[in-house]
């Protein structure tokens, strides 16, 4: 009745492969484990959330009658008496994008089952993420000292502060959650849970190194979202 695994067709490239996969039984995404599929679909949903936030920000930027503050001045730092625009944001962006690099390497080493290097790389990613959140906290407190509040600010339209705190806050929340989960995954990799297939404390399901990749997907997404926030909020 059923053919053996050897009879299974290899994955085909291109549109015919796409049609093959979607018209086949069992799985639409071949060789994709469930957690990874779930993360992709979640990220699609999350994309809509961030898109709605950014579109709303653009709308209020048009609807408000008071001039929008100049981001280059508001977000500038004074280093040794010289005003450098967007200095802190440049560093934050650089760090977050670097963390995507270390995350990608962690995924690679994870699939090679190199526990030690994977753990270090995930921890490094988490450290980058935490320092990003730390610098964001610094930026928030600097702006709050200068009088920026969600309901108003001395530089111009009150929506500037509202949108800034809401959007960077929501993104920072994503990064913080990511850091926590990175630490959990790092601990699991370090203890060898994924080698032995130990069961999760809450889910009671066995996990493997795919978790590192799923985690990586989330992290790259958070990174990508930051690029859009950076472009639309700080550069516009």
């Amino acid at each position: 009745m059923a053919k053996t695994a050897a009879g299974a067709k290899a994955l085909q490239p291109g549109m015919s492969g796409f049609a093959d996969d979607w018209s086949s039984d069992q799985r639409a995404f071949k060789n994709v484990h469930w957690g990874k599929a779930m993360m992709w679909i979640f990220l699609l949903s999350d994309t809509f959330i961030f898109s709605c936030f950014l579109i709303s920000y653009m709308t209020v930027r048009w609807s408000t009658t008071i001039p929008w503050p100049n981001p280059s001045e508001v977000f500038g730092l004074s280093v040794g008496g010289v005003e450098v625009p967007l200095l802190l944001i440049a560093i934050m962006t650089f760090i977050l994008i670097s963390s995507s690099g270390t995350m990608a390497m962690a995924v690679n080493y994870g699939y090679r089952k190199n526990r030690k290097v994977t753990t270090y790389l995930i921890l490094l990613t988490a450290l980058f993420g935490a320092s990003f959140v730390g610098m964001q906290a610094f930026e928030w407190s600097k702006l709050i000292h200068e009088g920026v509040r969600p309901w108003g600010n001395p530089f111009g339209a009150p929506q500037f502060g509202s949108a800034f705190f809401m959007i960077t806050g929501f993104h920072g929340f994503h990064v913080s959650v990511g850091v926590i989960f990175l630490l959990i995954v790092a601990r699991k990799v370090w203890r060898g849970d994924y080698d032995r297939g130990d069961r999760g404390y809450f889910t009671t399901m066995k996990g493997g190194y795919e978790h590192v990749e799923t985690m990586g997907l989330y992290w790259h997404f958070v990174d990508l979202v930051w690029v859009f926030i950076f472009a639309f909020f700080y550069l516009w």
Binding site: S23, D25, G35, M38, S45, I49, C52, S56, V60, S162
Partner: protein, 599 residues
């Protein structure tokens, strides 16, 4: 459909998914309370949704008391009336229908109908329910805070939703928004489960184009929900900030009671766009599972394969896609750019094409079928008629020129109650009767079921048909009372009283339904296996009701689509999806002749 032919298509692809690792409950609590089994979660979802739905039913009675007999009930103040409207609408649309179709039927049917042991992520599925329950409790809590629940209308339009003139503008609106945000978080967890289960954990032989239409409807509706709820989530967060922190996302410069408020520069229409970008797909989040379920009910009870299966699937997908580009037809009178009206009217009317296709296909499925007019079938046919009615009035309202005079009249109320209130509820009842034997192992009382159908169906028409007329003569919606308005004749008041009486009759008739369910569950006749002779997979479980892990020792193999009824030459009038072609009992002559024809 080439799958119907009886030649030996014995090829079933080798297993790609490892045997699913299930959580086996060890105590009563993990078996029935914090349960990870999709079937129990489904019952929890459905019970919670129906319980909160009954609250909304009572609220609608209170509204009708006021509308039908103004000045007679001193305990209903104008503020109360607006709170009833708001809570009734929000509960019915979000907390009842969405949760019942996706959380209830989705959880129960998806694993069974695609041949999985459980959802892909049972733990996340469990958390989903508990977050939903929390959202419901937060909603209920809003009834008990000072000022009561919000009375902003279920669309919660700012600026009035958060200004002090609106009832419940202190705690009520905050709790409402928090509850919605929680609902969305909980739903997202469940929704990810449904989508991944359908895409990635079907059994061997179950291709997407062999899935029953129930699953297609629930699947596409879940995708819609995952993409539409984010807009509501963002809208809720921004309105919370407007209310609590005093930001001005949605608030323009505004004067209240002669006092200039500190708000300014926001865009109220932005909220309407966000709300309806969620709100219109939401209509189809409710309607698509109903479409799917009703297709299955009609096929099973008329003993015919569904007419035009592929077209039915594509119609579901196309309706789902179109539902994202029609939202501003709810906003013709909002003051948005009038040119938008043309675009959105066009896309709205285009939706009528796939929808009409579905209605034709249901009718053609019935054509020359061996129709059994039992309770589920009555509800299914009732749905087709009702949906047609509601759909046609939708074409009226989709046109800008007709919508402008009709908007904010009772005509709108009649339209959306027909299309998204009565029609889906008829499917819910039909589906509950249809799957009651599967879920409980008992048979319900057919007499009580038919009584329940006729009272509900005819009663709903007696409630909503007069409302169309009220709308045409210009009776506005959301008015506490019409007062001594000269333009309305006396008959308007009489009709309102008649409608109110009918709502009480229909509402109380639901007691028959609950009595039937509980009585049959406790002391009903034991149902035989697969009492309807259905071909789809959920009836082919080794035990009924299905046990933990659904399928006993080994997963079923699927050889055909879910609609093999009346196969020429077969001795039974249905062939289950998991019956191998060589095992299908054939009349002797027929087998020979099909063989020779193939040769």
């Amino acid at each position: 459909m080439s799958d119907i032919t009886q030649d030996d298509v014995g090829y079933v692809a080798p297993a790609e998914n490892a045997e699913q690792d299930l959580y086996h409950p060890k105590s009563w609590i993990t078996k029935y309370v914090f349960c990870q089994d999709a079937k129990v979660i489904a019952i929890q979802y459905a019970s919670t949704a129906i319980a909160i739905g009954l609250v909304a039913l009572v609220l609608s009675w209170l509204m009708r008391l006021q509308l039908g007999f103004p000045d007679s009930f001193s305990f209903i103040e104008p503020e109360d009336y607006y709170q009833f409207i708001t809570a009734h609408g929000m509960i019915m649309v979000v907390y009842l229908l969405t949760a019942l179709f996706l959380g209830g039927f989705g959880n129960y049917m998806i694993p069974l109908m695609v041949g999985a042991r459980d959802m892909a992520f049972p733990y996340v599925n469990m958390v989903s329910y508990w977050v939903y329950l929390t959202a419901v409790f937060v909603l209920i809590a809003s009834f008990f805070v000072p000022g009561g629940p919000t009375g902003a209308g279920w669309t919660l339009y700012p600026p009035q939703a958060i200004l002090s003139g609106t009832p419940g503008s202190d705690g009520g609106i905050i709790l409402m928004l928090v509850s919605l945000a929680l609902f969305i978080v909980g739903f997202t967890m469940g929704g990810l489960n449904y989508v991944v289960t359908v895409l990635q954990s079907r059994t061997r032989g179950m291709t997407l184009m062999r899935m029953p239409l129930t699953i297609w409807g629930i699947f596409v509706a879940t995708v819609l929900a995952l993409l539409a709820f984010p807009a509501l989530f963002v809208g809720a967060i921004m309105m919370l900030l407007d209310k609590i922190l005093g930001t001005s996302f949605f608030m323009p410069n505004i004067v209240e009671l002669g006092e200039h408020l500190s708000y300014g520069g926001g865009s109220p229409i932005l909220f309407q766009h966000l709300f309806w970008f969620f709100g219109h797909p939401e209509v189809y989040i409710v309607a698509l599972p109903a479409f799917g379920i009703v297709s299955d009910l009609i096929a099973v009870h008329s003993r015919r394969h569904i007419f035009g299966y592929r077209m039915m699937v594509w119609a579901i997908v196309i309706i789902g896609a179109l539902s994202f580009v029609v939202w501003a037809h709810h906003m013709y009178v909002s003051g948005m750019n009038p040119y938008f009206g043309f675009f959105f009217a066009t896309t709205t009317l285009i939706i009528a094409i796939p929808t009409a296709l579905k209605v034709y296909n249901w009718t053609l499925t019935l054509w020359k079928g061996n129709i059994r007019l039992n309770t589920p079938m009555l509800f299914a046919i009732g749905f087709i008629v009702t949906f047609l009615n509601g759909g046609i009035t939708g074409l009226f309202l989709g046109n800008v020129a007709i919508d402008v005079p009709l908007s904010d009249t009772m005509f709108v109320v009649a339209h959306f109650h027909m299309v998204m209130g009565v029609a889906p509820m008829l499917v819910v009842f039909g589906a509950i009767y249809h799957w009651f034997p599967l879920i409980t192992g008992k048979m319900y009382s057919e007499t009580l079921g038919k009584f329940h159908f006729w009272v509900t169906f005819l009663g709903a028409y007696l409630i909503y048909f007069p409302m169309h007329y009220l709308g045409f003569v210009g009776v506005p919606r959301r008015y506490f009372e019409l007062g001594d308005t000269q333009i309305f004749t006396e008959s308007v008041g009489q009709l309102n009283a008649f409608i109110s009486i009918m709502t009480f009759i229909v509402g109380f008739a639901q007691i028959v339904f609950f009595y039937n369910m509980f009585r049959s569950y406790a002391a009903g006749k034991k149902s035989e296996m697969n009492p309807w002779g259905a071909a789809s997979l959920e009836w082919q479980t080794p035990e009924m009701p299905p046990g933990h892990g659904n399928w006993g020792k080994s997963l079923p193999l699927v050889y055909r689509w879910a609609y093999d009824y009346g196969v020429p030459g077969a001795t039974h009038d249905f062939v289950p999806q998991n019956m191998a072609p060589k095992d299908v009992p054939m009349e002797k002559k027929a087998r020979k002749s099909t063989r020779s024809r193939k040769a």
